[in-house]
């Protein structure tokens, strides 16, 4: 249906994906907190080349963020302790949402809060000010670098389920729960989201990490520990997506260390329907567009008509499957 021909008369692969009843032009989103609210990166990235923009976590009140130092480069990754610095939901709906509404792409509003009620209030405020391309919400229950950043929800199956149920009642748009990798097993969380009626889960958020200045004996980050992201964590993210894929039937949005189309394809094969590009935006502000372009090329070379054909195609040998891998 969406099959078209490119200039060489070859079939142009179809990158469209559907999540719930929302159609995205491609499966590549930019991750919350790594692309601002769109305006910042606009000069460097063709926003309409993205499947969508997940906005920086927004909370009820504006948050100043943590005091410096907020970032530390590590081997193939970085630690951050931004502290959910954000403009607050009022400014978000007044300025940020209308700005993003001008682009032909989808918006997913990421919400962080420290109580059930705050999550709901923020969501309802956005819902009341929705713009046409607002696809839905991503609920951040997994921020490791503020003390009230939702991780108390993210590491507790019951609270995850309760929160999801509550928010489900407040919106018909996409409800996506963003899970943390900082748990023994992601499976029960994925299942809790499914039971509570989420449309999808996204994973992973950052891993708890730390770095120390050996001359001052001080933690390099102001908050002692922070969140680890970037290529270093890709193998972990991929394993968690795979484990979530086996545990539930919700669509999964894969996140973690994606820099190239090849990285994204690993996530599709492991079971993700869409992906988000995070830290890579800091290196190439148009990383998401590059990933989408590379994806199209790969599909063409592999003669695959639809990107959705890749999803959940991991070939695991029968004997390993039987043994529970």
């Amino acid at each position: 249906m969406n099959t078209t021909l490119n200039t060489n008369g070859e079939v142009k692969p179809n990158l469209h994906v559907k999540l719930g009843n929302v159609e995205f032009k491609n499966p590549v989103l930019v991750a919350s907190g790594t692309f601002g609210y769109g305006a910042e990166a606009k000069q460097f990235c063709d926003i309409e080349g993205l499947g969508g923009v997940v906005t920086k976590s927004v909370s009820w009140k504006p948050r100043m963020g943590n005091s410096p130092r907020r970032i530390v480069e590590t081997a193939s990754g970085m630690l951050n302790s931004i502290g959910l610095a954000n403009v607050g939901v009022d400014t978000f709906v007044k300025e940020k949402l209308p700005y993003l509404a001008k682009f032909d792409t989808k918006i997913i509003a990421n919400i962080a809060a420290s109580s059930m009620e705050e999550y709901r209030d923020v969501l309802e405020k956005i819902e009341a000010n929705a713009v046409p391309n607002l696809a839905g919400y991503e609920i951040n229950i997994s921020c490791p670098n503020v003390k009230d950043g939702g991780l108390s929800f993210g590491t507790n199956v019951e609270r995850t389920e309760e929160l999801t149920t509550l928010l489900r009642a407040s919106t018909d748009r996409l409800l996506i729960i963003k899970l943390t990798p900082n748990v023994t097993s992601v499976a029960p969380f994925a299942q809790a989201c499914e039971r509570a009626g989420a449309d999808a889960i996204s994973l992973i958020n950052t891993l708890v990490g730390m770095s120390i200045d050996i001359y001052t004996h001080e933690p390099r980050l102001n908050t002692v520990t922070g969140g680890l992201s970037g290529p270093a964590i890709k193998p972990i993210a991929l394993a968690q997506v795979y484990q979530a894929r086996k545990a539930c039937s919700l669509p999964i949005i894969g996140i973690g260390g994606i820099v190239s189309a090849e990285d994204a394809i690993e996530f599709f094969i492991a079971g993700a329907t869409m992906v988000q590009v995070g830290t890579a935006n800091f290196v190439y502000p148009d990383a998401g567009v590059r990933v989408a372009a590379g994806l199209e090329k790969y599909l063409q070379q592999q003669k695959i008509a639809e990107v959705t054909e890749l999803v959940n195609t991991l070939r695991v040998k029968a004997e390993l499957k039987a043994a529970g891998w």
Binding site: P68, R69, I71, S76, I82, V283, P285
Partner: protein, 263 residues
């Protein structure tokens, strides 16, 4: 149109002193559009993730389609970059950041206060002042004479820690003597150097009630305002008015009014 990082071939590498080099590269966008005080963000090794992040460098000079940076070897990223050879390709994003606020009407004499590799943004600023015929004094402090990058500066007063050239002591002390003597008419300080020097500049400016702008170096993940990783703390007075506790070094800066921030 969006502009992204551009592969930029290195056309010249000069060694000024051990661990201090300049790299000139072809990048018409940076060469034609940079305003004094802006910076570029350069990837130490494209295609590899250790090191992963870009490194910020002030634009040191521009001519035709080429731009130049000056690199002081510091850690692994600058180590790789400083050893780039002519003909190699750099991945350059920029120009980025806000320029120096040279257009303000609050001064008549430009005072450039330079500490070490803080010289990097001064040649373009000097060119601007010369074009605009603004009287200009440059107070350049360095550890020792051989570490001074002399190109494209004007009316330079040198101070060295070891007394190997010019005034024996700090450039801030030297500047103070000029201020005390009243030799500088309605000056504004443009300062870039180590934090200690910047703090001294901040107090000096307060003491003499003269405008002062400081260009800061903070760690940066993105350089374009999307990571929130480069906060600069604002003074209580600014916070009271704006409600903003922090500004971003990469997009609100790198230079700030000295009285508005906490160093």
């Amino acid at each position: 149109m969006t502009s992204s990082s551009v592969p930029s071939v290195v056309t010249q590498r000069r060694i000024l002193a051990p661990g201090l080099v300049t790299l000139r590269f072809r990048n018409p966008n940076v060469a034609h559009n940079t305003i004094a005080g802006q910076f570029v963000n350069i990837l130490p090794k494209a295609g590899f993730s250790d090191p992963m992040l870009r490194r910020p460098f002030s634009v040191y000079w521009t001519q035709g389609d080429e731009a130049e940076i000056i690199i002081q070897e510091h850690g692994r990223g600058t180590g790789i970059l400083a050893n780039t050879r002519e003909g190699e390709i750099l991945d350059v994003l920029g120009p980025l950041g806000r320029p120096w606020m040279f257009d303000s009407a609050d001064y008549m004499t430009a005072v450039l206060l330079i500490g070490g590799v803080g010289v990097a943004s001064m040649p373009l600023l000097t060119r601007k002042f010369e074009l605009d015929e603004v009287p200009l004094h440059t107070f350049y402090g360095a550890r020792t004479s051989s570490l001074i990058a002399r190109d494209h500066l004007a009316n330079v007063h040198i101070a060295t820690d070891d007394g190997s050239e010019g005034f024996h002591g700090s450039n801030v002390m030297l500047l103070r003597s000029y201020l005390e003597s009243g030799k500088l008419e309605s000056p504004k300080i443009f300062a870039c150097g180590p934090t200690g020097m910047m703090r001294a500049a901040q107090s000096l400016a307060a003491e003499f009630s003269i405008p002062c702008e400081v260009s800061l170096e903070t760690e940066m993940a993105c350089g374009i305002g999307i990571c929130q990783g480069c906060p600069v703390r604002t003074e209580e007075s600014v916070f009271a008015v704006t409600g903003r506790r922090y500004r971003l070094a990469c997009t609100d800066g790198p230079s700030f009014k000295a009285e508005e921030i906490v160093l």
